[in-house]
């Protein structure tokens, strides 16, 4: 049973990843391209400034893959593998939740678990550390940024699981509605405390020292020695569009996982009588 569910989860994830790839290729890639153009222009302006000041320009790293490969194949492989991984985790969570989270049908549970995956794995970490296009993010802080992001992912998933457990514990005393609200409130408070305690990326030691006191790593305008702006800050519209489509792609991915998995799971879980006839699903509690 669990094997069937896991395989169907991976399948749903692959389909979801493929859809997310099509979405990303159409909507996100133009903005990723714009962000990379901004970065190249800024590097050129910086090199000109360095040259005028008599500094040796920094050598750029070699391009291992062309932009065409990154934008057409790399992002596709990345999103499909990510989708399959999330589909597998989804199926594990679904299997553990089966029959343990109250009067839910197979299909409804699939949508709820997918919603939990979207919120826990992506949306809540995004609220603290939103997705950034190329050109945003200093190489020197990658270690700290990765660690902080993963702390947010682990905390939000763990607290979400804790909230589900808490809701089940409170349900006999407060009823479904109030127990769910209380557990949700506990989740918000707990993750809120973590978000308050973790630093903003711009406030990391290295960034304060080299870039001044800004909340994020988004590039500020580039100025020459006299304070004239020689290259603008990162374009706000590109940043918004990139993040907007990033949320959209994850919403699409998790919705697709839930919607593809739901009917497959229902077929697996539908009880079959000895003569092979399929009985109706268990009656829904009033």
């Amino acid at each position: 049973m669990e094997k069937k569910l896991v395989l169907r989860g991976v399948l749903a994830g692959a389909v979801a990843g493929l859809l997310a790839f099509v979405f990303a290729r159409i909507f996100a890639e133009p903005y990723i391209g714009k962000a990379i153009d901004y970065e190249s222009g800024r590097d050129a302006a910086q090199a000109a400034l360095d040259k005028a000041a008599g500094l040796a320009p920094e050598a750029a790293g070699p391009d291992l893959f062309s932009r065409t490969v990154q934008a057409d194949i790399g992002i596709g492989v990345g999103l499909i593998v990510f989708g399959m991984a999330m589909g597998a985790l989804f199926a594990v969570a679904y299997t553990v939740c089966l029959g343990r989270v109250g009067g839910l049908r197979a299909r409804s549970l699939a949508l709820l678990v997918a919603g939990g995956g979207f919120v826990g794995m992506y949306l809540v970490p995004f609220l603290k550390y939103p997705a950034n296009p190329p050109a945003i993010g200093h190489e020197e802080t990658i270690r700290a940024r990765s660690g902080l992001y993963l702390i947010m992912v682990v905390c939000s998933v763990a607290f979400l699981a804790g909230a589900v457990w808490l809701g089940r514990r409170l349900q006999p005393r407060f009823g479904n509605w109030n127990a769910t609200l209380l557990a949700g409130a506990a989740f918000v408070v707990a993750i809120g405390v973590v978000m308050l305690l973790l630093p903003s990326l711009g406030h990391l030691g290295y960034n304060k020292e080299h870039y001044g006191n800004h909340a994020t790593e988004t590039p500020q305008p580039l100025t020459d020695g006299k304070g004239h702006i020689v290259y603008p800050g990162f374009p706000a519209d590109v940043l918004f569009a990139f993040r907007f489509y990033s949320v959209g792609a994850q919403l699409l991915l998790w919705s697709a996982i839930g919607l593809v998995f739901a009917p497959l799971a229902e077929r697996v879980l539908r009880p079959v009588t000895e003569d092979g006839a399929v009985r109706g699903a268990a009656p829904l509690p009033a």
Partner: protein, 71 residues
């Protein structure tokens, strides 16, 4: 809990004994997390292949787009 299940059977038809299914579930979760790691994290903050950047550069756009921190 037991008082509920007597008055109100869960509508999801099967409860899988997690202990029996444990190996499959844990194995699946571990594999999925390894994939998550290679898509999102490897050859950035930490790297299992040293200074090689092929995975990082190949899934570069996906990594940014999925919300992971990137160089």
């Amino acid at each position: 809990m037991s008082s509920i299940s007597t008055t109100r059977p869960a509508a999801t038809p099967v409860v899988l004994p997690v202990t029996k299914a444990g190996l499959w579930l844990v194995g699946t979760a571990v594999l999925a997390l390894i994939a998550y790691y290679f898509i999102g994290v490897d050859q950035g903050a930490v790297s299992v292949f040293g200074k090689d950047m092929h995975i990082h550069e190949f899934v570069h756009d996906a990594r940014h787009f999925l919300g992971f921190p990137c160089h």
